[in-house]
Symmetry: C2
Subunit: 133 residues, 2 copies
Amino acid sequence: MERIPILRMGKVLLVTIQVDMHDQLAVTLQDDLTSKIVETGARGVLIDISSLEVVDSFIGRILGNIATMSRVLDAQTVVVGMQPAVAITLVELGMSLPGIRTALNVEKGMALLQASMEADEAELEVPDASLED
Amino acid sequence: MERIPILRMGKVLLVTIQVDMHDQLAVTLQDDLTSKIVETGARGVLIDISSLEVVDSFIGRILGNIATMSRVLDAQTVVVGMQPAVAITLVELGMSLPGIRTALNVEKGMALLQASMEADEAELEVPDASLED
């Protein structure tokens, strides 16, 4: 069965979407990703959509779902590599991708995830700092 | 035109092959990769083939070509994620992928590339050590 591979890089899962996502493929990706987050204890999900030239409302919704599912599993999602035309289309469709962080490319997205994972860890290390007196 | 995206992560270029590579796509990938190595000064190429269930002699040759082209541009190639059945097929086809280093997954492949890049740099830093007296 066709499925989109999920690559593990340290605490980040990397997904490169290269093909047009039809319904079944998108559902499979959601299932695979959530299982993989739980299995690996990943803290971040990086989705590269640089090869998508068209993003419709269906894919927009799928990306939103993935971000929400990841969040409840304590992993952040960053979408990278969006083409200018795709950004225009999404806004014209009325989809501003709420709750999804974006970055220009994989390198910047990875840096963003690393920074926020480090911030999370720093917070955990000094729990008293966030407590009220 | 369909093309396989090449992701840059620091000094490594990451390629995830998800679709069956027909002739034109493979040639495009070779061209794109060589241009990208020159453009970015990348020192490593990581090719993930975990979603390929069948690898024929054509793809085997393409992988070999990419590795050779990368080497002459001073970048190392590591192929990761090969499925057991693919390994069996390749050997049965008489292709032992000479000159291609492999690793179990992206994480291990990246570690392999990092280690050899560091070794290269260490060598450059102490040029006298390799000179004969």
